[in-house]
Symmetry: C2
Subunit: 692 residues, 2 copies
């Protein structure tokens, strides 16, 4: 799975390097059509690009695509897992059992999901630069945020007059501040579930097979976008299927939203990840995995409740573990050191450039010493590792939201700017289940680790645990809170500061107790780490532009990108890995026990299935977490696959692209259609997809 999930990395400022081979997550506004033409002899026209862009959909942490003119959206099963989970109960576990709405009336609302389609892009770099010129680092950092907030707000106001339906303007920072853009999206906030297979076939092989290839996963689901009148959305730009899929070596494109890459961090930033951020994340995540697994064994209901969080957690664990391995590969840091040296040498050879650039690498290294000091307090108090609970999240949103909304738009914490409020409201009012036993588990775990890492004599720890154990405190605040009720949350949200101040909900009180110190450490981080690092990163980016030009793609930022590659396998320890798997081997690998269990629905019709049906395929497209659910598109603009994963080498793609080994993994159209036709007998759906 390539969910857009990453360890909390304090630094997310990214800078650009030259690209080689087919790698590169290109923006639609700077896609290298000429390069594709030169290498593959194929013309990618503006019309092709527009259609691919308008057919591509951004979900929470995932990508998807329109596959019918009436709003059908194809994505991964694991991208719809939250929706399946939210619609499940003890009696009816949709994650496990799958789901098929045979009529539109039976489609199920996904309460917390939205779908964004990118409809316009504007370069606003000049405006941001003008606003921050000649300011010191800290002032520039503040003014930059205010400027972006203003730009987003006026974009939405302007757009609202011109169009109907919800829309969304978001600023985008490319090349670590080398470019700023305003992206305008059409937002669909009424999404409904149409189809999902059983988890046992969607994620066959489970965590052991995750990020492996060869592979046999039907990791698909189908949603539908509805318009603001409650009608299926009209989506004329959609992808038609090519049922036979692509052939070996065929040119293919992935359109989607890669979450983040760190290909241009400085060496000291990479070392911080290696020595501090990732090891600390892995310690916490491994223990939480153990707690989840053991909890899941206590009852069938516990097993159901914990399944989805465990899925996400194990995915993150595998990703971070392989990222750490990559950082322990001496070749990686050696190459990064050489690249850094080369750029510095180039700078040194141009005295004027050198003088205007200074030594941003040392600035970053110095800021990171401060980050190392702040890291534990930031992680536990502000980033939430100490308060690992959905209810705490609601409570903090309510408390901070009330305080922030009293301020002018540009003076607030960025996450409470006006343009962000509708999404917050949607999430507060969505009737998603809160499981008290799971909440207690995660919150007690957070308290216990906070005490371990901050120490039993830390002021906050003393105040929370003076007379309590982590378990007794967690039980009290979870059992005493009424924030699981959406109506209570909306009353407090709408009631603003007065209502929140009057609240004696124990979870609100917990947030209130922690908030001054949480805000203080965040402020220190923003002023002493983020501000100098951002200024220094811009200097490096500018120097790099001068040295190497601008014809390189920026690092991933969970905004829309298009990349090209070909269908191919690779060589692993001297053994050739073929790029296609077929259905027959699925049955051979089945053990009858999860996660290697083929669902009954498939066993029952086994005799009618074509065992030579292609199942999954691998390509050398350069993708990363966030590309889950992306369409694989051929040169004719047809859908030839559904990305859901990469091989194990793809994880190191966060830092560098290895053309020999990095492969993306897709569900083949043939197995999706074989399943819809023979197993699920979804004839209405096949008709709407235009499949005979």
């Amino acid at each position: 799975m390539m969910l857009c999930l990453r360890v909390f990395a304090l630094l997310t400022l990214l800078i650009a390097i030259p690209a080689f081979g087919d790698e590169g997550m290109w923006t639609y506004h700077d896609f290298p059509e000429a390069l594709v033409k030169q290498r593959y002899g194929i013309d990618i026209t503006p019309a092709w690009l527009d259609r691919a862009r308008l057919a591509t959909v951004r979900l929470s942490g995932c990508t998807a695509s329109f596959v019918s003119p009436e709003g059908l959206i194809l994505t991964n099963h694991h991208c719809a897992a939250s929706c399946l989970d939210e619609n499940s109960t003890g009696e009816k576990n949709l994650v496990k059992s799958g789901f098929l709405a045979r009529t539109r009336e039976r489609e199920l609302r996904c309460g917390t999901q939205v779908a964004d389609v990118l409809i316009a892009m504007e370069n606003v770099t000049d405006k941001v630069e003008a606003a921050t010129r000649n300011l010191d680092d800290k002032a520039a950092n503040d003014v930059r945020k205010k400027t972006l907030t203003q730009l987003e707000q006026s974009c939405e106001q302007r757009s609202a007059k011109a169009r109907t339906g919800p829309l969304k303007c978001e600023s985008v920072n490319l090349y670590a501040g080398g470019q700023y853009w305003l992206y305008e999206y059409h937002r669909y906030d009424d999404l409904r579930l149409v189809f999902a297979p059983e988890e046992d076939i969607a994620a066959f092989g489970g965590d052991p097979d995750n990020f492996q290839f060869p592979r046999w996963c039907l990791d698909m689901s189908i949603l539908r976008a509805y318009d603001s009148h409650g009608k299926p959305a009209a989506t004329p730009a959609y992808l038609q299927w090519r049922p036979e899929g692509p052939h070996v070596s065929e040119l293919v494109f992935v359109s989607g939203h890669p979450g983040s890459t760190d290909r241009l961090l400085t060496v000291s930033q990479l070392e911080l990840l290696r020595d501090v951020s990732i090891p600390q994340f892995l310690l916490r995540a491994s223990e939480l995995r153990g707690r989840y697994i053991q909890y899941g064994k206590t009852s069938a209901e516990a097993s159901r409740i914990v399944q989805n969080p465990l899925l996400y957690l194990e995915n993150s664990l595998k990703v971070e573990r392989k990222l750490l391995d990559a950082l322990h590969d001496d070749r990686l840091l050696q190459r990064k050191r050489e690249e850094e040296q080369a750029l510095r040498a180039k700078l040194a050879s141009e005295p004027q450039l050198a003088a205007s650039t200074g030594d941003p690498w040392s600035t970053i290294a110095k800021a990171e010493q401060i980050e190392r000091e702040l890291s534990v307090a930031y992680t536990f108090l502000e980033a939430g590792a100490g308060f690992n609970s959905k209810l705490f999240g609601y409570a903090r949103t309510l408390l901070r939201g009330a305080a922030e909304r009293q301020k002018p738009n540009t003076e607030r914490l960025r996450e409470f700017r006006d343009t962000a409020l509708p999404r917050i409201e949607q999430q507060l009012k969505a009737p998603v289940p809160v499981h008290p036993e799971l909440e207690k588990l995660t919150l007690s775990f957070g308290f216990e680790r906070m005490r371990e890492w901050l120490g039993p004599d830390h002021d906050i720890v003393r105040r929370l645990l003076a007379k309590d154990s982590p378990d007794t405190l967690a039980a009290r605040v979870i059992e005493g809170s009424s924030l699981a009720d959406p109506q209570v949350r909306m009353r407090l949200w709408n009631g603003g500061a007065q209502a929140v101040d009057a609240s004696r909900d124990p979870m609100i009180e917990l947030v209130r107790l922690v908030d001054p110190q949480a805000r203080a450490v965040r402020k220190r981080y923003e002023d002493e780490v983020e501000a100098p690092v951002r200024a220094a990163s811009e200097q490096i980016a500018r120097a790099r532009f001068r040295a190497y030009g601008t014809s390189v793609p920026p690092d991933a930022t969970f905004t829309l990108r298009l990349n090209f590659g070909t269908v191919q396998g690779w060589t692993e320890n001297g053994r050739q890995i073929e790029p296609f798997t077929t259905l027959g081997r699925l049955f051979e690998r089945a053990t009858g026990q999860e996660p290697f269990k083929v669902p009954d629905s498939w066993l029952e019709v086994k005799e009618q299935l074509d065992m030579s049906t292609k199942f999954n395929l691998s390509t050398n497209n350069d993708i990363v977490g966030g590309n889950s659910g992306s369409p694989l598109i051929d040169a004719g603009g047809k859908l030839v696959g559904l990305m859901f994963d990469g091989n194990i080498h793809s994880i190191a793609g966060a830092f560098w692209f290895d053309p020999d080994k990095n492969r993306a993994v897709a569900v083949h159209p043939a197995i999706m259609l074989e399943g819809l036709r023979k197993v699920y007998k979804a004839n209405e759906l096949l008709a709407e997809l235009g499949i005979r």
Copy 2:
């Protein structure tokens, strides 16, 4: 806690460096009396040394000391935890409640514990060198082991004629093969529990406070050694107490068994620990911690059962976490690189020496590439990470023991040499509880992680989990096995190969299935990693001896050492940490909830207690895991403390001694006596200790 617990590190070959300041874990046969005289003006006489040595006791993973002429042994509570645990039931939890035998008849047998006292030491370096001269690495590795087995055997036969009672001869490798010694011990295999306080006071602060100072732990227990006639052992060399303890800056000695240090690993060996061994251990241990904690919440009985394993695990976790931090401290690796360069430069300046030495550093680095490849298979198949279960351990001992005992003594796996068999038999026949639910937890965990790391398509994984989940397989072999019964184990042990071959016990069958591949990876490790590394380490040690002489202490090897230091605190972030704590602050820090709960027995007599009683103290003695329970001795040979921990900086002592920050932590005699007198009213015991 400084249990002698370390991550399974494949490499345990150690080499020597020069020592500075008061650091150094000196052997009794090379203790630097002159240095002590010069620095402190104190004469340490041979009689002083003999008495300290004969009063010092080695336990499993711990140290202890005789404190009465009739066999009373003082050690830590955590060193007696296994004995307390083995004597506990659902109704009577001795770990929690503590224990006091008011008469000798009520003392409780510790079934798996032995106590060794070092009575003679012989240098056998010449014999080992003569046996291995001119052999290639692999042959030398084999012959070396055979020679040591023979030397041990003839030592025991010789000694048996001269003395009565059990004894034990063990070879000791100092300076990574620079010296070999035969140590002869008097072994007591009948130990009984006399006194232990409640865990809540013994380990006040629990894991959060572990390796912290200031501290308030009454981490003590008292055992008694019995002779082979079932009488209290006569132990004329015992330590008398000095109730008021030492004063600040006083010269003090620690006599004990530091487990292992890695101060002289090569840089490439340290990098292997940093990049592979420790991170992999931490991942597994963190998850297991989560599973234990969550399991412990399912019932009071589960909580009791899991308490002791969790205590050990959390201690290891903290140690390994701080070891990893130390390895991420650039100053450490930089200093190691410089030391290595200095030695190589010195070698290069002496052509003859250089020629005879070759390049052992490259040899080790090359062997480690192989170790990196073997690491996962070795860890899971041979080192037991895949088969994490007491019953599996019994089964493997029985199966391998039967096979190995058919071979001549010198041809066996070393752990089955004749001199090792009595200890194996003691452990097989001890009626210690086996908890099936805990066994299933750990075994299922092992299977699941083995599948993750070896991959679902690995031959062993396929054979074990072709039709099973980790849970169903673990349940079947645990529930079907009768090896929890000591009589069954002894029947199979005594029945030898015939009995074991005939056994259909599912745990024996599991061992049988895995054993060929487990042995194969071990053989590869011994031949391709251990053999060249050992030969190369000897070369480095010899070169180092020539360059720097031999007046340096060897690395720790869980054999008897003596070191000196003074009572002192240290400066932490500009703040002075005082070397003594007092009783009053214990009550102030108490929360009423574990692990910060003061037991009722102390609360009930609070008014009668002297709040200024000294509780714990810190010194700059150079100690490490395995020194737990060591006596702190003054220049007059009196007991002035009981070592139980180090501060957080002491953990990095595995790699280097930091004189500014590394501190050892002891229980003060005053608090032990205050507790025995006023809380436990152990008057008989106080009388035997010679305390009025």
